[in-house]
């Protein structure tokens, strides 16, 4: 497709379970970002990938969170031993990357509910 896609769109899980969220960036976009949006809040930066460079993981809230990206393709965000405070919408964005500014295009997000 032409835009950023994410799956699943909704995920309900039980506390303590692991979840995996997927992001398909726009083809050709080398930069990929994950953000978290809690109810009524703005977006919190989680992690950034640029090509084959080491990712910027400075926004990950705990070691239960991890993300992977192979080359310039799909990325997965994994949350282990989920907690109720992990409930949020997880948004992925991609951009052309590079030295000059390029617009971040957002996916529709995955709404995660931890019971």
């Amino acid at each position: 497709g032409a835009g950023v896609s994410q799956s699943p769109s909704n995920k309900v899980t039980e506390k303590g379970k692991d979840v995996e969220l997927r992001c398909d960036p726009i083809s050709g976009h080398t930069a990929l970002y994950w953000y978290r949006q809690r109810l009524g809040q703005g977006l919190e930066f989680l992690i950034y990938f640029q090509g084959n460079s080491a990712p910027d993981k400075s926004g990950l809230p705990s070691d239960r969170f991890s993300a992977e990206r192979t080359g310039e393709s799909v990325s997965t965000l994994t949350i282990q031993r989920t907690q109720q405070e992990d409930s949020a919408v997880y948004l992925c964005a991609s951009s052309r990357g590079g030295a000059r500014w390029s617009e971040q295009f957002f996916g529709p997000g995955t709404r995660l509910t931890v019971l």
């Binding site: 809040q41 703005g42 930066f45 640029q50 500014w101 617009e103 971040q104 295009f105 957002f106 997000g109």
Partner: protein, 112 residues
């Protein structure tokens, strides 16, 4: 700690009204300020501002940055019900990542 603060948090107006949304920031490494509109889940880009005092305009929306006051405003004139959304302000970090630091958003409801 870097932060972006928006005000008001929510606003209810009637069609035809003009609204002004505010964004202030304290960010160590400022590169640019961006405004997004979020209707359902995915924010969509409105403006990017890098220079003080230069107004960006798109239809009924306009925005300006004041780097001395570390703030920006987003104006919407002749509001329509389709303007109802969350408006997000974000500051781009000047490091290599281009990561965005978001405010908490202003929820705008435009009543017919």
């Amino acid at each position: 700690e870097d932060k972006v603060v928006q005000s008001p948090l929510s606003l209810v107006v009637h069609e035809g009204d003009t609204v002004t949304l505010n964004c202030s920031y304290e960010v160590t490494n400022f590169r640019s300020l961006l405004w997004y509109k979020q209707e359902k889940k995915a924010p969509t880009f409105l403006f990017m501002l890098t220079s003080s005092g230069i107004e960006k305009k798109s239809g009924r929306l306009s925005s300006i940055l004041d780097k001395k006051e570390l703030s920006s405003i987003l104006n919407i004139t002749a509001t329509q019900t389709g303007d109802s959304a969350i408006y997000l302000c974000a500051v781009e970090d000047s490091g290599n990542t281009g990561k965005l630091i978001f405010g908490q958003g202003t929820t705008l409801q435009v009543k017919p």
